[in-house]
Amino acid sequence: MTDDDPSLVRRLVSGDKAALATAFDRFAPALTRYAWAVCATPADVEHVVQESFLSLWKHADGLNLPTGRLLPWLLAVCRSHAGPRGADVAGGEPLRLVQQDLLALPDTDRRLVELCLVEGRTWSEAAQSLGLRPGGTSSRRGSRATKEVQR
């Protein structure tokens, strides 16, 4: 059975590198497409995509995934690594290359992505503006507190 995102995060938290490989296989194509739209060179694309997955690895045990899905968080982190270029240096629609990926997401996740990648909100701001609270995988077991990811 394929890992769903919460399961994948739990494996990442446990330090399972195979989970990182799985996450990369699952989300890197979408991140690459997004990065292609907002970066100046292919080298920049590679840089921000790689840094995004390293951020996932580094912060796995403190992810704030209010909807439990990883792709919105990864896209927001990707934009963060792209820096000012995340506003789309090409002057076009920054999400134009990931429309199909976004259509597969629930409305709330899609809105999260739009707030972060189009309107430039931080992840926390976007979540709060949608009335979402820290939640997701790490808060479900017992009293383990969910932590905000400070980016």
């Binding site: 399961s7 739990r10 330090g15 990369f24 090409a90 609270r133 939640g135």
Partner: protein
């Protein structure tokens, strides 16, 4: 870039290169906090143990790092001392009022499950440990084990309490807490502890109450509901609302920051453990 993104073999080459770079640069991560948490729990439980005997010891996992001592092997299920092992006088107990039969359900669709005093869907109180696994596996995935850097399994279910058998799905969790070889408590949780903004879909009681229900809805469905386990100091600020049912209890947990049910317990106590996973 104004150019079109790479596709086909060009994209694959790019992805392979990036993936290799990421995996090489991802440093092995130490288990942060977990060991500290366990150590704190050990100290606390040993302190409790001075007064409470060996009951607490069953909750302490034997880690691979632990020095060999004359204890059961790490793979042996933790034992919990319960009154059932002591000689007791068997007294007739009142026959509980028969619970209405739960309607049929689909194991893969937990919104069809009914929460009763017997459990929820395939998660059934009194089942032998593991007996529900096949049915649960149809709609949920076992929580992955926590392993250390050498690949050694530390917690089979990713949880410090070896008696908590955790099953996950994208929108929630089902936990069977076992003791004496049988399921003693079933816990149904939503995807978030703070089901504030969106109603959650999941198992419901015959009265239609479940994840996402408000306290008003609970009270309307169960006028006999009572609040239990208030923890004014040092405990959780969440509230717990218990409905007695045939000698067991269905307990609804509402988070302090929320207004609707985030977790439902079914078991023999009206005061379920808030933190069943440590």
């Amino acid at each position: 870039m104004r150019s079109e993104p790479p596709v086909g073999d060009d994209l694959q080459r790019m992805l392979v290169s990036m993936k290799q770079n990421v995996l090489e640069r991802a440093e092995p991560r130490k288990r942060r906090g977990r060991r500290t948490g366990v150590a704190i729990a050990v100290v606390a439980l040993l302190a409790v143990g001075a007064a409470g005997g060996g009951v607490a010891l069953g909750l302490i996992p034997t880690t691979p790092e632990a020095a060999p001592v004359s204890t059961p092997s790490p793979t042996e299920p933790a034992r919990t001392i319960t009154p059932s092992s002591a000689p007791v006088l068997i007294t007739p107990t009142p026959t509980p009022t028969p619970t209405p039969t739960a309607p049929p359900y689909s194991a893969t669709d937990w919104s069809t499950w009914t929460i009763t005093a017997d459990g929820a869907g395939p998660a059934t109180l009194g089942s032998a440990t593991g007996a529900d696994d096949a049915a649960l596996r149809e709609g949920l995935t076992p929580a992955p084990p926590l392993v250390d850097d050498t690949g050694t399994v530390i917690y089979q279910w990713g949880c410090a309490n070896p008696n908590a058998r955790i099953w996950e799905r994208s929108d929630g969790t089902v936990v069977e807490i076992v003791g004496d070889g049988v399921v003693q408590t079933v816990v149904i949780s939503g995807a978030s502890d703070s089901s504030v903004t969106q109603p959650e879909v999941g198992p419901k009681t015959l009265a239609g109450v479940g994840l996402g229900s408000t306290l008003d809805e609970i009270r309307a469905a169960y006028p006999n509901v009572v609040q239990t386990r208030t923890d004014p100091v040092g405990g959780t600020a969440d509230t717990f609302w218990a409905v007695p049912d045939g000698g067991r209890f269905i307990v609804f947990q509402i988070p302090a920051v929320g207004t609707s049910v985030s977790r439902v317990y079914v078991g023999a106590t009206d005061e379920p453990a808030y933190d069943y996973c440590s």
